[in-house]
């Protein structure tokens, strides 16, 4: 009986170790995300802070949403008294660093809602990184005049 228990314990320990080795802890973390709702089916903006705890820099290379037809990475800029916005292909995140998608700078532009969306709802967003990782987010939708605090 004791030998059986010992054998089972050994197998269990080996299995747990093997499982841990096969599934590395992600070095990327997303926090404080939210979506600014706008009326009249206008494009909405998504914001989130991303931390890279890994030893290598990564790039946020794309985004998609189960709730919108299109999700793009954009950057707002103010130059020479002009406000403008452009699409960006990727956003670099340094090793042991972070990037904030926040009002006035980088943001997700969310277009073509697949169903009516309103403040209080939750929007699903997948962030794709160039190291093959994906972060799944569930962001709260806030009113147009939210300060995001």
């Amino acid at each position: 009986m004791v030998r059986l228990v010992l054998k089972l314990a050994a197998v269990a320990t080996f299995a747990i170790c093997a499982a841990a080795a096969a599934a590395p802890v992600s070095s990327l973390k997303a926090e404080q995300g939210w979506v600014r709702w706008l009326p009249a089916n206008l494009p909405a903006a998504g914001y989130v802070a991303i931390r890279n705890n890994g030893d290598k820099p990564v790039k946020l290379a794309g985004a998609e949403s189960a709730d919108y037809g299109m999700a793009m990475l954009h950057r707002s800029m103010q130059k020479n008294g002009s406000d403008s916005m452009e699409m960006v292909d990727a956003i670099a995140i340094p090793a042991h660093g972070g990037v904030a998608l926040a009002p006035g700078g980088y943001h997700l532009m969310l277009m073509d809602a697949k169903h009516p969306i309103k403040p209080g709802d939750t929007v699903r967003i997948s962030l794709h990184f160039d190291d093959g990782e994906t972060l799944q987010l569930a962001l709260p939708v806030r009113p147009a005049n939210s300060s995001g605090d």
Binding site: R36, L38, P39, A40, L42, P43, A44, A45, M70, H74, S76, Q78, G81, S82, D83, S84, M85, E86, P103, G104, H107, M109, L110, M111, P143, A144, N145, S146, S147
Partner: protein, 198 residues
């Protein structure tokens, strides 16, 4: 003779002290003083109610004006949120203020769309649109450049536009300019100062 010399010395010393005192008075504004440098508030456009709107409709109110468009999900909302916060900080004095959001994208920003957009931020914002020629003339009058960028594959397009927030007094005179990065505190401070000076 010695007394005369002392008095002679005192006179320029006094003048110098007075001049130094004048130059030490700090400007009171946190935004930029443009008094006399920009034209008075003047326009004939269409409001978000679909009715004609003229600048004279706003005489007697302090006016905050910003050029933008509704398909801008980040900077325009950020600016309007700041102006909404200004109104909150002003408390009862907010009744003396109106916010004008002038669309640089009249093709998409019809009165109904504008109405839904501005009312989502603050009840005291009036959306203004017009013909492309009217909007171009308005932007030119206030030296605000805008550019409708090329259409993308899905038909969407961005519009770059001036980042200036214009502050007009109750007589429609341009007094101050700020921009979308100025804090609501700074804008509210200057509005209160304008109100006290009137």
């Amino acid at each position: 003779m010695a007394l005369f010399r002392i008095r002679l010395f005192l006179l320029p010393a006094l003048c110098f002290a007075l001049l130094a005192a004048c130059q030490h008075a700090p400007p009171p504004w946190q935004l930029n003083d443009v008094r006399g440098h920009l034209p008075d508030l003047q326009f004939d456009l269409t409001s978000d109610a679909g009715t004609p709107a003229a600048a004279t409709d706003f005489r007697g109110k302090y006016v905050l004006m910003y050029f933008g468009y509704t398909h801008c999900p980040d900077v325009c909302p950020l600016t309007l949120v700041h102006l909404h916060l200004v109104m909150q900080k002003l408390g009862k004095d907010a009744d003396k203020v109106r916010i004008l959001f002038v669309s640089v994208d009249p093709a998409r920003d019809t009165p109904p769309v504008l109405h839904q957009y501005v009312t989502a931020f603050d009840p005291r914002i009036v959306g203004l649109t017009g013909t492309p020629a009217q909007i171009a003339a308005m932007a030119k009058r206030y030296r605000s450049a805008f550019n409708i960028d090329a259409k993308q594959v899905n038909g969407d397009y961005t519009v770059s536009h001036g980042s200036i927030i214009y502050v007009f007094d109750r007589r429609g005179r341009a007094r101050l300019i700020g921009n979308s990065t100025d804090t609501p505190d700074a804008i509210a401070h200057d509005l209160e100062l304008l109100m006290r000076q009137d």
